[in-house]
């Protein structure tokens, strides 16, 4: 018996709670702060004598009214949704057949190619944005949503191929074989059997493509210069600031609205997302 054995249990419990509480507070604090800032009156917000953690004056919806009524915020939400939908469409169109081919139709070299596709995750936007800014300009897409609709699939397709590949591999081969014996071609089996069976995999791709689109910053900042064509990710931190004046109330309201919906959906699909990153290091 170890001497600390008996004392160890309560000590470990306390340590456990302490660790969780610490990370919970540090990681969550900015979101609490966004929330309380959103509903505070300006006079309360900018008075150093007030305790900033509580409402010293009644809460207000003024910042939200300003955000929705007098800024381009709704427009940016609309732009983000539009880009999201189109990028999701393009991604599925390219990634579904490619992932199926890698999972079923190509043997050893397909596996290599799959790894190569995985490695393109590692090529960052901050290496490509300078040449791409030229490419986008030459295509006449600068300062338009078209630029990011074209470029975003270059990172969502590889990620989706990787996710879908694992998914397709888990479908029993016998099902397709049976369908092909019954007269479907291989491609027919893919379209009529495999795709309908993969709705949850496809849903995962939709979610993550959408999240990647809302999170992207560098390309949108580089290619798009006018406020009206921005997405939420660039519009809020860059164009909600007028000159040097930060309207913190509205700014934090925008942050909150832009983060929470994705966070909810993301949580539901977390395990799938991890699978896309772990290169098979977890089985």
């Amino acid at each position: 018996m170890r001497p600390g054995g008996r004392l160890g249990a309560p000590l470990r419990r306390a340590g456990h709670v302490l660790v969780l509480a610490f990370f919970f507070l540090v990681l969550g604090f900015p979101f609490y702060w966004m929330t309380i800032t959103t509903f505070k009156q300006g006079s309360d917000l900018y008075n150093l004598k007030n305790n900033p953690f509580i409402f010293n004056a009644p809460p207000t919806l003024e910042h939200l009214r300003l955000l929705f009524g007098e800024t381009l915020f709704l427009r940016w939400l609309g732009n983000t949704a539009l880009v999201g939908v189109l990028v999701v469409g393009i991604t599925l169109l390219f990634a579904l057949p490619a992932a199926y081919a890698l999972a079923r139709l190509t043997g050893r070299w397909g596996e290599r190619l799959g790894i190569a596709i995985f490695l393109t995750y590692l090529v960052p936007s901050t290496l490509l944005f300078i040449p791409l800014s030229r490419v986008v300009a030459n295509l006449g897409l600068q300062d338009s949503l078209g630029s990011i609709i074209l470029v975003y699939p270059s990172f969502t397709i590889p990620f989706s191929i990787w996710l879908l590949m694992g998914f397709f591999k888990s479908i029993p081969r016998e099902l397709e074989d049976a369908a092909m014996v019954d007269g479907l071609s291989r491609f027919g089996a893919f379209v009529k059997l495999v795709i309908p069976m993969s709705t949850s995999g496809i849903l995962t791709v939709v979610i993550f493509t959408f999240t990647l689109v809302t999170q992207e910053f560098v390309y949108a900042l580089t290619f798009i210069s006018s406020a009206a064509h921005q997405t939420v990710g660039v519009g809020v931190p860059i164009f909600l600031v007028r000159g040097d004046v930060y309207y913190w109330g509205s700014l934090m309201a925008a942050c909150l609205i832009a983060s929470l919906p994705t966070a909810f959906v993301y949580n539901l699909f977390l395990d799938r997302f991890i699978a896309g990153f772990t290169v098979g290091a977890v089985k």
Partner: protein, 293 residues
């Protein structure tokens, strides 16, 4: 039957491969061409200028500073992220009431758009209304008008951008490690406990060695996210004060896009390539090992 369908695999694969080659492969190669050319925003034509751009960036003190900062930023944030996320993952592994809510909140920094999280921090670190400073003043740790300028003083600003980056990446690393932890068969650490091994002995001699592949994955992605990121720095400090928090990607942006000197910007960003190559090589080794076992 088999022969008739041999073309189908490549045909289904080709469009995606072409897309990736056109928008990742081609610009990647173009970056090298730009770096030894004279391309500016709006310029036409291309002239080879050899290593002129590289000579010019090496004469620029801001570049040397950015190079150093990139290392500092990456290494210190990764040390903090790995120790922090390992601690947090071990704590999250055990079941407890409210685990779902805790997990949701802990994930928020990673899930929220990075630019949005950063602007939240900009408000927390505000020069006048910083809540951290309010607490410090309330606790009489600093005087009201001598409160720290978190983003206005070079070393504090560097610490702030590192801290915000750690805040952002820690949840990602935590969920990856957590996935690794849950894949360790339960009976192994339990058997060790029965044999009298304490918490730390079990951790260092059993859990950590078994976690190695997944820790490698978390670290490699962490390094990539850190060394290639410019968003946190762009939002919080714009590389300032006086270029003291500039890193390679942000300097490439300021030089190439805002300054209009595409060639020099490309040359700066190319310094990311050796590091990315090393990471790619290590990632392949992880993948190969996972394939064998």
């Amino acid at each position: 039957m088999k022969g008739r369908q041999a073309w189908l695999g490549p045909a289904m694969l080709l469009p995606a491969v072409l897309y990736i080659v056109a928008l990742v492969g081609v610009p990647f190669i173009l970056a090298f061409f730009y770096a030894v050319g004279d391309v500016k925003v709006g310029s036409v034509g291309y002239h080879f200028v050899g290593l002129r751009n590289f000579r010019s960036i090496f004469e620029n003190p801001a570049f040397l500073r950015a190079l150093r900062n990139s290392f500092l930023f990456t290494i210190s944030s990764q040390v903090l992220v790995l120790t922090g996320s390992l601690t947090l993952a071990l704590a999250l592994k055990e079941k407890f009431p409210g685990r779902g809510i805790v997990r949701f909140v802990i994930l928020l920094p990673w899930v929220a758009p990075i630019s949005i999280g950063s602007i939240g921090w900009k408000w927390i670190l505000d020069s006048l209304y910083s809540v951290i400073n309010w607490v410090l003043v309330a606790l009489h740790l600093v005087k009201p008008f001598a409160a720290p300028m978190w983003l206005g003083e070079p070393s504090l600003a560097m610490m702030s951008v590192i801290a915000v980056h750690v805040w952002r990446i820690l949840p990602f690393s935590t969920v990856i490690i957590l996935a690794g932890l849950t894949s360790i068969p339960k009976d192994i650490p339990e058997a060790a406990a029965v044999d009298g091994a304490g918490f730390f002995r079990t951790l260092f001699q059993i859990t950590l060695p078994m976690l190695r592949p997944i820790l490698n994955v978390a670290m490699l992605f962490g390094v990539i996210f850190a060394v290639t990121d410019m968003t946190v720095i762009y939002i919080l400090t714009r590389g300032g004060p006086y270029d003291t928090t500039q890193v390679l990607p942000s300097l490439a942006f300021f030089t190439g896009i805002l300054g209009g000197d595409l060639a020099e910007g490309a040359a700066i960003s190319l310094f990311l390539v050796p590091l990315l190559a090393v990471v790619a090589y290590l990632m392949l080794r992880v993948a190969r090992r996972a394939e064998v076992t």
